[in-house]
Structure formats: structure tokens, C-alpha cells
């Protein structure tokens, strides 16, 4: 567990009460989404287990979200495109630290910069290769990259080739 530095708002008691005033609530929910993303990214956690997340309770100020509010925040998180339900029972969320569309854009930009346009590279190279060092998608979840690539494929900006192993699947940027 890395030393995640909790933001100031995490110690603000009203943060744990879902605000009745709409405009205020919008900002509050945005902060919750931000917190969930930052926390899971820092800890390299890809999954959020709804009933077992340490974020819902802050012992220090004796506040915690009730069941309904946890559900509300999770639904909002998923609806905003920051995560996906892993199961039908909605007990686990796959964290998408970047939205697939965003990642797609990043991939294209990278392909342009690093001269991979018109060339084929493997999925592995994309996520952990030398060339992808420093890129925003470095170390990214494979699933996420696939999602992003799927979008690009739909737009006709890449072509995907099946390899022997999934890691060897190839991507050609046009």
C-alpha cells in the first residue's frame, strides 16, 4: 500500500453526507469520483469491491457513508465512465483510470509522435514496451487498452490482428 495522501476534503465531515442541494451535490460527487480514481491509481488497484472499500469510512472524523450512499456514489462513478461493473450483481467495479475515448486519443497521439504510424506493434509493446515509457498509458490495464483500440478500430484508425497469445496481438496504426 503506497502512502496515499488523502486530500483535505476527506476530513470535511459534510463530505460523507450526500448533499440535498443539486449544484452542491454535483461538486461533491465529482470529488468522490476523483478520490476513487486517485486512490486506486496510486495503489495500482484495478478493482473496487463495493462492500469492502476503505474509502467509505474515515475513522479519524468518525464519519462513514451509509449503504445507500455507497451505492449512489458507485452508480455515479460508473455512469460517468470512470468504471465498469464487472458482474451483474454489481458488487465489483473495474476502475478505468482513464476513459477509453481519452486513452484512444492518447494512443493515436503517441503513435504519431513515436513513428509507429503505418507500423504494427504488439499489445505488450504498447503497455510495457520501451517506446511506451512515459506515455500516459504505460502500465495500463490490458483490458483498458483493448477497449481504447476497439474504439479506434471502429473509427477505422487501427487494425487489430490476432496473435498466438493475447499479448502478441498486433495493432496497426493507420
Amino acid at each position: 500500500m503506497s502512502d496515499f495522501e488523502f486530500p483535505e476534503y476527506y476530513s470535511f465531515p459534510p463530505f460523507f453526507t450526500i448533499q440535498p442541494v443539486s449544484a452542491t451535490r454535483q461538486k461533491q460527487l465529482a470529488l468522490w469520483r476523483d478520490l476513487i480514481l486517485k486512490y486506486h491509481t496510486a495503489n495500482k488497484e484495478k478493482t473496487l469491491v463495493v462492500h469492502d472499500c476503505t474509502l467509505w469510512k474515515n475513522e479519524g472524523i468518525q464519519r462513514e457513508l451509509n449503504r445507500d450512499n455507497v451505492r449512489l456514489i458507485c452508480e455515479d462513478f460508473v455512469n460517468n465512465g470512470n468504471g465498469e461493473w464487472e458482474d451483474e450483481a454489481k458488487t465489483r467495479i473495474r476502475i478505468m483510470w482513464k476513459k477509453p475515448e481519452e486513452l484512444a486519443g492518447d494512443l493515436l497521439a503517441w503513435a504519431d509522435r513515436s513513428g509507429f504510424k503505418g507500423q504494427v506493434c504488439t499489445l505488450y509493446e504498447l503497455s510495457s514496451g520501451e517506446d511506451s515509457e512515459g506515455a500516459s498509458f504505460e502500465g495500463a490495464d490490458e483490458e483498458l487498452i483493448r477497449r481504447a483500440l476497439a474504439i479506434l478500430e471502429e473509427r477505422g484508425q487501427v487494425a487489430i490482428f490476432k496473435g498466438d497469445t493475447s499479448e502478441e496481438d498486433g495493432v496497426k496504426f493507420f
Binding site: 459534510p14 448533499q19 461538486k27 476523483d34 468518525q62
Partner: protein, 360 residues
């Protein structure tokens, strides 16, 4: 030692015997009939009066000279303590003025002459009839007593009422200064004399009632704002307070609401406001931004409950909750539902949102 009752001035003499002078035997033709004076150099303060010799009752000779014996009176003098001289003079004068011995005669004259036994007076019917007659005599006496007292009371009250009405008019026009505050306090304490009723006002009931309500409400709201509390009163409280001021002839809630509507339109001295369903009247002194500022000041340091905020604003809890929720609706407050109840904080979410650099 001397004792003064409503009917007698009683003395104990040196030999411990009781002697009395009936007050009706003391000559009284006005305040000058009883004198207070002292001997040389303020010594031996005395109170002097004249007693009619001819009354067939025991008269005490004070031991003084009877130089006035060519008149039909003798001097009665009592030596008093100097600091009590004034009081004794006053009390004796009062007792002489009241002439309470006169009531004895009227009471005895009202006794029914004995009519002898009648058959209709026998049995339970007779008992009931006699009781009823006694009751009607008693209530008649009470009415007469009241009329007498009320008349003089109303006469004196009339002057006060005229003065009070003038003050109220002045108050409605001006707003400020210590004089106005004094006036308001006095007027609120006085209540309402002779409340407007349908009987008294007839066709003008609506406008007269509106005027009366207005004249009472303006000083009340003014006082409330001066005690550094919020000049808001909810209509239910207005109803109670106003009827209490009237004392008798309460008006109905419907009439109060109608009166408030008209008073607001006619005189524009206050506003009717609906705070999230709670109807209330609001004084001119009320400023929403000032109230919001007060609240924000209190929550700056730490979250506060509705109870705390209501008390400090000087409004009841229902009112307080409404005001707080209005300020919350404006985005200035946020709530925290903890174990100890609901507390309100300054809304910091905007600041946090900016700090977090969240993209929309």
C-alpha cells in the same frame, strides 16, 4: 400607638386602653381638612384633624386645649415619627376620602323586608327560587360596582389611549433613535385597549382591524430587531401574541390572516413571507444577506446545529430550520449528518473542487 382602618382611627393610650374615633366623625371637606405640621425647629411632627363633638360615640380628648370649642368640633392631634408624617397624612386623607362607611348603609338597605311565609316559598322549588333571587341580587351588585369603577377607569384610560395612538403614528413613520425604542417597549407592554370587533366597527371591520393589527405589529417587530434578534415572527405566534394583547374578544385565525393581508397592502410596514411553507411576517429591518452573513460567521469556526443557530438568531426552531435551509439552498451552507444530529458548515466544496483540478 394608633391604628387606621377603613372605618376607625384606633388609639392605645398610655394605660393600655383602646379608644377609637370613627372616621365619619372626622371633618373632611378636602385635603386641607387634615394637616401635617411641626413645633418649633421641626420638632414633634404632628398630624391634626377635627372631630365632630355631636356624634354620639366615644371621643378621645387628646389632652390638648379645646380652644376651638365654640365650633362644634375638637382638635384631634396625633404625634408621629418625622419620617412617617407624610405617609400618615396620605393614608388618613385617603381613608377619609374613600368613605367606605357609606357602603354599610346601602348594603343594609338592600335587605328584603320580611314578607311572611308563603306556600310558594316552601319545598325545593322555594329553595331554588330563593337561591336564584340571591344570585341575581349579587350579580346586580357586582355589575353596579364594575360600572362605577370602569367608568372612571375608562375616563382616565382615554387620555392614555390618545397619547398612545399619537405615539404609534409617530413610530410607524420614523425608524431609529432611542426614543423610538423606549416608545416601542412601552407600547408593546400596554397591549391593546378596546380591540376592534365586528360590533364596534360594522362595515369598517376589515380596515379597522388591519389598522389595529398593524399598530400592534410594527412596535413588536421593532422590539424584536432591537434585541439583536431577527424580526421574523411566524403567523401562528402572531396569532397567539396578538390575541393575548387584546385580552378579550379574540379574533379568529381567518380574520387574522385577512387582517395581515390588508395591513401589508395598506400600510406597507411589514412583509408577509413564506419560508419553505412556513408563513410569517417580516419586519422592514430584516435583511436576508445579513442573516446569511451572521450564520456564515458562526459556522466559520465549526459546524453548528439548527438549535444553536435558531437561538442565536432569536427565532424559534421551525423558523430557524427554514432560514438555514434557504441559505443552504443558495449554496452557502452544506450539511453533515453525524451521530450528534445535523450540523451545518460553510460550503467548501467549491474550493476543494478547484483545488482538485477536476476536469468536467
Amino acid at each position: 400607638m394608633a391604628y387606621l382602618t377603613s372605618h376607625f382611627l384606633v388609639f392605645t393610650t398610655g394605660t393600655n386602653t383602646l379608644k377609637s374615633v370613627p372616621l365619619k366623625s372626622i371633618v373632611y371637606e378636602g385635603k386641607e381638612s387634615v394637616e401635617a405640621y411641626t413645633s418649633f425647629m421641626g420638632r414633634n411632627p404632628k398630624v391634626k384633624f377635627h372631630v365632630r363633638k355631636s356624634d354620639p360615640v366615644a371621643i378621645v380628648k387628646s389632652g390638648q386645649h379645646t380652644s376651638t370649642s365654640f365650633l362644634d368640633v375638637i382638635d384631634g392631634v396625633i404625634v408621629v415619627k418625622s419620617d412617617l408624617q407624610k405617609t400618615i397624612l396620605e393614608k388618613l386623607t385617603q381613608a377619609l376620602e374613600r368613605k367606605e362607611w357609606k357602603n354599610d348603609d346601602s348594603e343594609t338597605s338592600k335587605k328584603r323586608p320580611d314578607e311572611g311565609f308563603k306556600a310558594s316559598g316552601a319545598g325545593i322549588g322555594g329553595i331554588i327560587r330563593r337561591k336564584k333571587e340571591k344570585q341575581s341580587v349579587a350579580s346586580k351588585q357586582i355589575d353596579e360596582a364594575f360600572d362605577g369603577d370602569l367608568e372612571s377607569l375608562m375616563r382616565n384610560a382615554k387620555n392614555v389611549i390618545t397619547l398612545a395612538t399619537k405615539c404609534k403614528a409617530k413610530l410607524s413613520r420614523e425608524d431609529g433613535g432611542g426614543e423610538v425604542d423606549e416608545l416601542s417597549k412601552m407600547l408593546e407592554g400596554m397591549g391593546i385597549v378596546g380591540g376592534v370587533t365586528k360590533d364596534s366597527a360594522g362595515d369598517n371591520y376589515t380596515s379597522q382591524l388591519a389598522r389595529e393589527i398593524n399598530d400592534w405589529l410594527i412596535p413588536t417587530l421593532h422590539n424584536k430587531s432591537k434585541t439583536s434578534s431577527t424580526p421574523i415572527i411566524n403567523v401562528t405566534d402572531v396569532y397567539v401574541m396578538y390575541n393575548r394583547a387584546r385580552g378579550v374578544d379574540f379574533i379568529s385565525p381567518k380574520d387574522l390572516i385577512m387582517g395581515l393581508e390588508h395591513a401589508e397592502k395598506m400600510f406597507k410596514g411589514f412583509k408577509r413571507k413564506d419560508f419553505m411553507g412556513v408563513k410569517c411576517v417580516v419586519g422592514k429591518q430584516f435583511r436576508e444577506d445579513i442573516v446569511a452573513a451572521k450564520i456564515l460567521n458562526w459556522v466559520e469556526e465549526s459546524g453548528k446545529t439548527v438549535d444553536f443557530l435558531s437561538k442565536n438568531l432569536g427565532v424559534n426552531e421551525v423558523m430557524g430550520k427554514c432560514i438555514v435551509e434557504e441559505v443552504e439552498g443558495g449554496g452557502k451552507l452544506v450539511r453533515d449528518e453525524g451521530v450528534e444530529g445535523t450540523k451545518f458548515f460553510k460550503n467548501e466544496f467549491d474550493r476543494f473542487f478547484e483545488q482538485a483540478g477536476i476536469k468536467a
